[in-house]
Amino acid sequence: MTSGVLNLVLKRLAIAVVTLMIVLFAVFFATSMLPGDTASILLGQAATPEAVAGLREAMHLNDPAILRFLRWLFGLLHGDLGTSYANEMPVAALIGGRFVNTMELAGITTLLSVPLALTLGITAAMLRGSLYDRTVTVLSIGVISVPEFMVATLAVLLFAVYLKWLPALSSVNEAHTLTDLVRIYAMPVITLTFVISAQMIRMTRAAVIETLSTPYVEMALLKGASRSRMVLKHALPNALGPIVNAVALSLSYLVGGVIIVETIFNYPGIAKLMVDAVATRDLPLIQSCAMIFCLGYLLLITVADIIAIMSNPRIR
């Protein structure tokens, strides 16, 4: 790796850190604007003004926003996510198990969708213009053009209502056997896989098609290489950078996807926790959840950018 690439990568990482700070700031101030006074919400309508004032004092709600932000940031650096307003539990404890659930969902989806999307994207590019290619293209455009909840409802209609393979809306608490587990994960994973794969197929297909139109691939064709040899030996190694970039970028769509999917299937992950926290105006919880999502998203797009930098031979 030359110093040029190193510089670009370091610059990209620095930008990511600056972005993270701005995002944290934005999240903190957006949540500070939440309507209603937290202290009076917590104590209920029967609370005396003195009690509310006392609680406000105890929770440092009277301090200026910037002081609260710095205190929150300082706590974050020490791994202290704060205490939930709604049930007085440490946020870290609330998030812990949920985080594992969401990562499981995201992990299984990634394991399924990456091979599926790469296979479909590459074969569609190889058979460009064929009926197969057009079917894959039209289907992926269709999935991208509709909201995630529509993909979810269609999946429920197909697999639960017409085919009756899976229960429509499952609850995770009743998981005892392996079959139960499969049933619980099946619908959310199927929905997310559709949403993520559609993006990935389109980007992969575009990347391979671009490589296939380069002079050296034409050369391979002219010297008599078979179509599959041409793609697998000549085009794919060169398209690898853009493809990995496409995978990382598509995976960042998981962030939006899980919010809808966890809500519709009542899946106990962080996204569901956050939607509930928004309803109860539980600031520390919202801030921590939003931060985790932004962090994950930022990580993925930074990785995608760095891969794009490293895979560009003109820079390397």
């Binding site: 995002v23 991208i144 209502v161 919010i259 809808i260 928004v278 939003a290």
Partner: protein, 281 residues
């Protein structure tokens, strides 16, 4: 990102084709419905007209009834008003502000450009659904608040797109000539740059409209968008989600309405007469 990868055999570049015409007709019909909804709905949207809930499609109740036995056709037609209206207002604000800022940044350059770009890029790296969730929770779900929230979320994207185009135009000779003539920044933006980037900007407008329709529907579906008794298409899916196990039309039709609008806009953009710069490039 939502461009159709035109499959090599270029129907792009030909002036009119069937797909484009059908797509524009669908969009036109939804626009007309959005404008005239109150006068064409067969029942008032609040009236309970069916004895049963999640009724099937039949004469008189052409799209069945919802979870309270209200007429689904009327509710979908009125939903068009909110979904199309709010999204159009939001996309107009987002594109106007984004494009203006983008052109200004490109023309002025220097630290104004750097600061603005850094800041808006940072805003761009907040996932849009998360952004919407937090901001809507903070400022509420009134229609003006929703419009502004959606607009703010998509300003960075519009800015980035317009700035990239304007930076290219900015290096042209006629810009140097205009600068030497001593033209004002406003003139440079309005008379030299804008006419040269207006077509891709309009295509971008369409794409951003689709994103906003999808985000608004998503927020409403989560219960954070339009609040009852008002209902856009996303909210209609949410309130009728209980009909899913019986495949009630009440839960399927609003989804189809969203899909018909977003897919049509995508198809129309891809079949526009002029070959328009790929926004991914």
């Amino acid at each position: 990102m939502t461009r159709v990868a035109a499959s090599g055999r270029s129907f792009l570049g030909h002036s009119y084709n069937l797909v484009g015409i059908v797509a524009s007709l669908v969009i036109l019909v939804w626009m007309l419905i959005a404008i005239f909804a109150p006068t064409i709905i067969p029942h008032s949207i609040g009236d309970i007209v069916d004895d049963d809930y999640f009724g099937p499609m039949r004469q008189g109740l052409w799209l069945g009834s919802d979870y309270l036995g209200r007429d689904m056709l009327s509710r979908v037609l009125m939903g068009a008003r909110y979904t199309v209206g709010i999204s159009l207002a939001a996309v107009a604000i987002a594109c106007f502000s984004g494009v203006m800022l983008g052109m200004t940044a490109a023309v002025i350059g220097g630290w104004v450009d750097t600061c603005l770009s850094r800041f808006l890029d940072a805003m761009n790296s907040i996932p849009s659904k998360l952004f919407g969730l937090v901001v809507v929770a903070a400022v509420g779900s009134s229609i003006p608040a929703l419009i502004l929230t959606l607009a703010v979320i998509y300003i960075p994207g519009a800015y980035r797109f317009a700035r990239a185009l304007a930076v290219n135009i900015n290096t042209m000779d006629f810009m140097t000539v205009a600068r030497v003539r001593g033209e004002s920044t406003a003139y440079l933006i309005g008379s030299e740059i804008l006419p040269n980037i207006i077509r891709p900007v309009l295509a971008d407008f369409g794409l951003r409209f689709v994103f906003i329709v999808l985000l608004l529907s998503g927020l409403s579906f989560l219960g954070l968008g339009l609040q009852p008794p008002l209902a856009d298409w996303g909210a209609l899916v949410r309130e009728n989600i209980g009909g899913l196990p019986f495949a009630a039309p009440a839960v399927i039709i609003p989804s189809l309405a969203i899909a018909s609008l977003t897919i049509s806009v995508n198809l129309l953009i891809d079949n526009l007469p002029q070959k328009i710069r790929d926004r991914d490039a």
